[in-house]
């Protein structure tokens, strides 16, 4: 029997295929009028767990909402995700509002980043899911804010606090704050990084998590198409490594999701990706969750069964993107083995409590 589902028979091919299918389903999904999707019901069925699990269910629904597949059982699940996210977007707004008001009462003004800020560039807020509220503070306010939010009990528990931007994103909080703009969330105006700073944050965040989440690349694609005149000097800064990271992520958004990058001539790296990079991302996308190469799962290895050891190590072998970011490396054609080996050893030592956590 010939059919699309026949391509998912071997595990390795299934990995490759599922990742590619996720990319195809999300191609242009953030646009007001997404492009027509050429697919079949079996493919939608096959890719639905990946879309739902990674938070891209609503975007998947958007791709098929005008197609003949809109009434299929898989489409129904995607539609349910869209409906729930639409409602949760409203709840999330209320939560953000409460947190911002609480902090404002103590004269603390943080910067809101990621989730809700990224969602503002989509045609609808319900197209992406929301988890924690990511807010960033300068070091002077970080501890005070933590104690205020901790005193709120459950109300403050949904906040993911960040102490500045320097360590991860190579940005000074004061500079980002100075360039910041505001968006309206519910009834309050919330300070957010300017477009360029936030694009940089999104790109580095995507790589830092090993590129596992297609939704994060959709955020970047939506941002790239939302603004015509991007100040690339501001976005990239002067650090060669940051330029490499951001341009590679933009290149991925273009290559895998069809983000329009014709207006960014300065980013040569975006058009010349390392050959291994896109394949590594697609392997991640084949799984609805990040692959289990992190502690505490990391060292649940059964050392008494050498026969299983090889496959267990294979399962835990570090993601090349994450390993590169772990050692603050560049994305180029050089082999990733040294990064992965180093990452594997450090994760092992960290699991034993003998190695500091980088991020």
């Amino acid at each position: 029997m010939e059919g699309p589902h026949r391509t998912f028979t071997t595990p390795h091919r299934a990995t490759q295929k599922h990742g590619e299918l996720v990319a195809r389903m999300l191609f242009g999904a953030w646009r007001l009028n997404p492009p027509e999707l050429e697919t079949c019901e079996e493919e939608i069925e096959a890719v639905t767990p990946q879309l739902l699990g990674s938070g891209a269910g609503a975007l998947g629904w958007r791709r098929i909402t005008s197609s003949q597949f809109r009434t299929s059982p898989a489409a129904f699940k995607l539609q349910q995700a869209y409906r729930l996210q639409t409602l949760y977007a409203g709840l999330h707004e209320v939560e953000i509002e409460q947190v911002i008001k609480t902090l404002a009462a103590e004269e603390i003004e943080p910067l809101l980043i990621k989730g809700r800020v990224a969602a503002a560039l989509y045609p609808e807020l319900g197209l992406r899911p929301y988890g924690d509220i990511d807010i960033c503070f300068d070091s002077g306010h970080y501890k005070i804010a933590a104690s205020i939010l901790n005193a709120q009990g459950d109300k403050g528990s949904g906040v993911d606090m960040h102490d500045g931007f320097e360590a991860v994103y190579g940005l000074s909080f004061d500079e980002v704050f100075e360039r910041a703009t505001t968006i309206k969330v519910g009834k309050v105006m919330v300070r957010v990084p300017c477009f360029e700073d936030h694009l940089r944050i999104l790109c580095i965040h995507f790589l830092k998590h090993g590129g596992w989440r297609p939704l994060s690349l959709c955020d970047i694609a939506a941002a790239l198409e939302a603004q015509e005149d991007i100040d690339w000097d501001r976005c990239l800064g002067g650090d060669k490594r940051i330029i490499n990271w951001v341009s590679c992520t933009i290149g991925l958004a273009h290559e895998l999701l069809g983000a329009r990058v014709s207006n960014i001539p300065v980013l040569t790296g975006a058009k010349k990706l390392p050959r291994w990079l896109a394949a590594a991302v697609l392997r991640q996308w084949a799984s609805p969750y990040p692959l289990a190469n992190e502690t505490p799962e990391f060292f649940k290895l059964n050392l008494r069964e050498p026969a299983q050891l090889k496959s267990e190590i294979q399962k835990r072998w570090p993601n090349p993107i994450k390993a590169t970011m772990y050692f603050v490396g560049s994305f180029n054609e050089l082999p990733r083995l040294p990064f992965q080996l180093g990452n594997f050893i450090s994760l092992g030592l960290r699991a034993l409590g003998r190695f500091p956590r980088h991020w």
């Binding site: 349910q80 988890g131 989440r213 969750y289």
Partner: protein, 162 residues
């Protein structure tokens, strides 16, 4: 008798407190903040719910529905909507069964008025959680939560993830 008749003929009052409502082009989404349940109302159910002010008569509502769906609408359609809205706790007062709703089946209603009537039939469905987590940093069972979106299970009961 006239008082009783008036009560019977008036539509019930819709519940408005503790609900988050989002309007989409073809449906209305309602999130019950007290019960932490999400509902989806099709256009007919939404229309009925929006008219549930305790004053409009059932007859007026029947006419309105007929105009909207461009088809003859039975009173039972309205009873059916009340029944479903009540079961979803979207009407004021305790959930109850509406006498008219049980008199006739959905199939019978469709048969009686042809396929055009199917458009007018009210549907209040629960939005169930898709079988996978949504959030990147979702919380496990028993972790504290303030909204369902924070939990891997997408269910936040009494401040803790199910």
């Amino acid at each position: 008798m006239s008082v009783l008749k008036t009560r019977e003929e008036s539509v019930p009052r819709a519940r408005r407190d503790g609900l988050l409502v989002k309007e989409l082009p073809d449906e209305l989404l309602v999130y019950d903040l007290f019960r932490q349940k999400a509902h989806c109302l099709n256009r007919t159910a939404a229309l009925v719910w929006n008219q549930c002010d305790g004053e409009t008569t059932v007859e007026q509502l029947v006419l309105l529905l007929g105009k909207e769906s461009n088809a003859a609408v039975d009173r039972e359609v309205v009873w059916m909507a009340f029944d479903q809205l009540s079961k979803a706790h979207l009407l004021q007062g305790r959930a109850r069964t509406w006498p008219g709703a049980s008199r006739i089946s959905r199939r019978e209603l469709i048969r009686r008025a042809g396929t055009a009537a199917a458009i007018a039939l009210p549907i209040v469905s629960s939005i169930v959680v898709p079988d996978a987590v949504q959030a990147a940093t979702c919380r496990p069972s028993n972790a504290s939560c303030t909204s369902p979106a924070q939990c891997c299970s997408q269910l936040c009961n009494a401040g803790h993830c199910a």
